[in-house]
Assembly symmetry: C2
Homo-oligomer: 317 residues x 2
């Protein structure tokens, strides 16, 4: 394959797909040595910061006030000099400059998709996505789903609400990019779970996406219909939107209920392509896909990066 | 633009988009003289019949029994010699060879998306779509939405259930292909209409897709919130899934309620790319997009094609 590494991120044939027996989607990125990986991450971050500095009044003002600029970022350590953005600021910016806020880095006319949060803890947040974002979302999700063990011969039942919530759309895009069969069934409509169970019995999906609590509700509904959830033959169940799949007892319960592996993933929708913390099929804990979204554990008060092994709050870049 | 007419359908640059002031999406096809159009339709049908004859045991058996084969189809009139397929037969075929039935013309492993009907009038029907189908669906919908007056500067609120039902997915694909902004909000979840109204107030969509009855429910919900539906500024409301938008009184009510034009479209999901009967922005009745799906009005008993102006049952090819 012809990979153009003179641009970043590297561009490759958009129909690229590894051999089904391969462990990695794109080993050239996933198996980099730490030093080379950090160099790539720094290079990407420098471009990102310059891009936002040029295009976003929000970031320029914020960085100016903190005395930093694109020139400040000479090493990954310099990232700590940049102030952390909190969700409340994004909300304020959207209230002041609706609908996208002053942090949008494309022309509003270039927004091809609008999504959002439901505003459970405050003002709903709007996400304006450009057409290139969807390509990135598909690449990121394909890579992460590949690591979770999804392959082109999988049939993936997506039992998660298709509306504002981005998780279901990302799973769909990733399944499409990976070449598996997507069955975007959705969730949330009265009576729909019983229908999903009937369709699952008929279509025998091999993978399931949703929230952990919904998977358990789905299993209960199956049992009420006299169907043992293990008979669906689900090999992989992958989850985001809720923390349950990472809790050992819940993971065990899901695996025993369905007889398939339970893979946890997540991060936050504000950080497109957002599915960036994810387990692989070995389920020994979260991988941070650092070349997609750079994740650090920081002190909750000062946001200073903490050494490996410490407890703190995640900061996504 | 470089249009390759040596293949059928003609392939063009997949990023092609007409000038926003243009009346037609692709005048080379939409403005053909009747004779040239019929020649194109015949050419497409002959390829389609040969394709199905080679790949589908269902069609081969059915045609064999009726004494026809691809060689029979020498003119559009010969089409009447081919037996009409009714929905009950598709259901039987799916029951006998689940899930897709013996009329699937691609390898089951090439199915990239599964959709279906809910089975209101019988066994649910499964639709297995290949990756090239999505491209065709996008092209067809972009062309029809362009005729309805949707342009790249539109923001389209899609208020229709994203699940089995294909209508919402086709509208989304068409909006994306056309270059407008899609806001796929969905419908059917308790409390969702009120949220849709609040988002519409914030985001000021210029177009709406859903069912006519849902649009009127949306308007009622707005009024209950003290919002005149005319203040959303919707220029175009387009509909499928229900016949209401073609009924003069309902059309008038929707246009008076929202102050935008009400455009009806439809056909049947079995006929991918399925949005093939559609009004244009002048709303003087349905156009049959005959080069997409060839539609005839036939006698309800014999399925013999009827002369222009007669009443009968539609037969889609």
């Amino acid at each position: 394959m012809n990979v153009d590494t003179s641009v970043w991120p590297p561009r490759y044939d958009p129909t690229y797909r590894p051999d089904p027996t391969a462990d990695f989607w794109f080993p050239e990125l996933e198996c980099l040595q730490p030093g080379a990986r950090d160099a790539l991450i720094l290079d990407k971050l420098r471009r990102q910061v310059a891009w936002a500095w040029e295009r976003s009044p929000f970031y320029r003002r914020k960085w100016d006030a903190a005395g930093v600029s694109p020139a400040t970022l000479q090493s990954l350590e310099d990232l700590a000099k940049f102030p952390v953005v909190q969700k409340a600021e994004l909300r304020l910016s959207q209230a002041a400059a609706p609908p996208y806020g002053e942090y949008l880095c494309i022309d509003p006319g270039e927004v091809v998709r609008i999504h959002g949060t439901s505003g459970t803890t405050g003002r709903p947040t709007v996400f304006g996505l450009g057409s290139e974002d969807w390509g990135r979302i598909g690449e990121a999700h394909a890579r992460i789903l590949w690591a979770a063990g999804i392959r082109p011969d999988d049939r993936v039942l997506i039992c998660s609400f298709f509306s504002l919530y981005l998780g279901s759309w990302g799973a769909l895009r990733g399944v499409e990019r990976l070449g598996a069969t997507a069955f975007p069934f959705g969730a949330g409509v009265p009576g729909q779970t019983l229908m999903a169970v009937e369709w699952a019995r008929e279509l025998k999906p091999t993978a399931f996406y949703g929230t952990p609590s919904y998977a358990l509700h789905f299993a209960e509904t199956s049992r009420r219909e006299g169907i043992d959830p293990r008979t669906f033959g689900l090999r992989t169940l992958f989850f985001s939107g809720e923390p349950g799949a990472g809790i050992p007892a819940t993971k065990r319960l899901i695996e025993e209920t369905f007889g398939g592996r339970c893979v946890d993933m997540g991060s936050m929708a504000e950080m497109t392509p957002w599915m960036t913390n994810a387990e692989c099929r070995h389920r020994t804990g979260m991988h941070l896909w650092q070349d997609l979204v750079y994740t650090q554990v920081c002190a909750p008060e000062t946001f200073a990066p903490l050494p490996f092994g410490a407890e703190g709050t995640p900061v996504y870049t």
